[in-house]
């Protein structure tokens, strides 16, 4: 299930500057596995010690907060665009 994942500037230092990837994942758990493998440094910035999504990180699917779509149970559709957006971050300094 090819989907696109957009990575914000704040996280790109953990992805060697990569801002977008296309990958196959059918749900959030699978997406995390893909990201863990591809960008091992990113993991602790997205999830806490218990594996929970960090409190101040929001995940959107096609502009909708994934929590409104069922969160981890949401099944990605082909062509979904996933956004990782820190809840109050952003900006060029």
């Amino acid at each position: 299930m090819p989907i696109t994942v957009q990575i914000p500037t704040a996280l790109r230092r953990h992805t060697d500057g990569v801002g977008s990837i296309t990958c196959a994942a059918s749900n959030l758990g699978e997406l995390f596995s893909v990201l863990d493998e591809k960008f091992p440094d990113l993991k602790p910035h997205i999830r806490d010690d218990k594996g929970q999504i960090r409190r101040f990180l929001n995940i959107y699917v096609n502009e909708e907060d994934i929590r409104f779509l069922g969160g981890p149970t949401y099944a990605f559709q082909e062509g979904d665009e996933v956004l990782l957006v820190p809840s109050i971050a952003g900006g060029k300094s």
Partner: protein, 434 residues
């Protein structure tokens, strides 16, 4: 050497002073931390009280660049007793002497408490080299950023949900700001702004300037304490949208205690939301420390943030103080706007209706007691949200400019059962002393 710098609220790492809102290490929000020991000798009640009556009188406790000359007399809004409202909300005469309104409906220059936060954010925007400032807004912030940007000679790009009240859109346009209407709710506008902030080097007051911006809210707390005669109230009732204000009033009180300007006191913090957008009050009521985001459906558009950025900290502030959070329906919001206007002569916007309505509930639940000093924070002006009162009042037929016509009209009016306002409808409130 500055007496303040950014510090991570969770891991404590310091970041100096820069336009940045999160810690790269743990992703948590940054806030401004001060060197209180260095500040202590230069701050006193006497020195503050000799200064001009505006929020800049607390400049040592604000993150202001060295040599910054304020260009607008923001803040120092009235705090006064609300005896008639106190009696109405509590059902007792005791509360009449103990309830206060902090009235930011008359904050300059744009009639909401957002003038305070924007004043501090823009003081820093130029220092950081921005020539354009921006924000996502439910209206009041839009007005404030546009006005202050005009005054500071900065360009302004304002992003708003397209369904905002016309007065708030006009009140942004008039300052020459570029207004971008987004077909979505505030949370969607806010998310878009986080993405835009990644692409354009603009000073977003509530994104990359957020730690500085949020400090402006503390001046509400400083003023309440000073206006009460340098003492803290027992209770604060505060409207909540993003959840920042309530946490910053708490920070203000803590700082005044730390600097010896007021006696230590445990103040209870009470949050107020509209039922149609109540992620913070829902969390408090269900005992959760985390926010479940909501899709807002309320006339209180200035509070319609379903995924509040500071929700987690607002919950902590409320619970840690022994306070509570309530929410009220849209009809209760309208009734409460009218109640405040008819009892105390203050015309507030919907957020103020939310605060007054929730305060009534808190009195009825005995969470706020009549003999406690309680301050309600009214944060915005009713002239910006007149649309919610559409249909409440009928347009009277005009009469001829003749005395006889008026006498007949008067007689007719007295004959007919009066259609009372919300005050007279249920209770006579005359005779309560101020």
């Amino acid at each position: 050497m500055s007496h303040y710098e950014l510090r991570c609220r969770e891991c404590g790492r310091t970041w100096g002073n820069q336009p940045r809102s999160i810690c790269d290490e743990c992703f948590s929000p940054l806030e401004v931390a001060y060197d209180y020991d260095a500040l202590k000798p230069s701050v006193s009640r006497e020195r503050i009280s000799q200064r001009q009556p505006n929020m800049w009188r607390y400049s040592e406790l604000l993150p202001l660049p060295q040599g910054y000359e304020p260009r607008l007399p923001v803040g120092f809004t009235p705090l006064f007793k609300a005896p008639h409202l106190g009696k109405r909300l509590s059902g007792t005469a005791t509360a009449a002497g103990n309830l206060y309104i902090k009235n930011d409906a008359v904050c300059l220059p744009t009639l909401s408490f957002k003038d305070r936060v924007v004043a501090v954010a823009l003081a820093n925007a130029r220092e950081f080299g921005f020539d354009t400032v921006s924000c996502s807004s439910t209206g009041n912030l839009a007005n404030a950023v546009a006005a202050h940007a005009a005054r500071e000679g900065l360009k302004a790009w304002i992003f708003i949900p397209s369904d905002l009240e016309p007065a708030k859109i006009l009140g942004t346009n008039v300052f020459g700001a570029k207004v971008v209407r987004i077909a979505g709710n505030y949370d969607q506008v806010n998310r878009l702004c986080s993405q835009i902030a990644d692409e354009h080097r603009w000073g977003f007051v509530n994104v990359n300037l957020r730690p500085y911006y949020a400090e402006g809210s503390k001046t509400v707390g400083f003023e309440i304490a000073e206006q009460l005669g340098w003492r803290l109230p027992d209770n604060i009732v505060c409207p909540m949208a993003g959840g920042s204000l309530i946490t910053k009033i708490k920070k203000a009180f803590d700082e005044l205690i730390k600097l010896g300007l007021v006696e230590p006191k445990e103040v209870k913090f009470f949050g107020a939301q509209a039922t149609g957008c109540s992620p913070i009050s829902t969390a408090v009521k269900t005992g959760s420390s985390e926010i479940e985001p909501q899709k807002p459906t309320t006339i209180a558009r200035s509070l319609a943030i379903g995924n509040p950025a500071d929700g987690h900290y607002a919950i902590k502030t409320i619970k840690g103080s022994g306070g509570w959070s309530e929410d009220v329906s849209d009809p209760e919001v309208v009734d409460s706007i009218r109640l405040l206007a008819e009892t105390e002569g203050i015309f507030t916007e919907t957020a103020g209706g939310v605060t007054v309505g929730c305060a009534g509930k808190l009195y009825r639940q005995d969470r706020i007691l009549p003999d406690e000093t309680t301050v309600l924070c009214v944060t915005g002006n009713g002239l910006k949200t007149t649309d919610v009162l559409a249909g409440v009042y009928q347009t009277e037929r005009p009469i001829a400019p003749k005395l006889a016509e008026f006498e007949a009209y008067l007689q007719q009016t007295l004959d007919v059962d009066e259609v009372p306002g919300v005050v007279a409808a249920t209770e006579e409130v005359a005779g309560i002393g101020a």
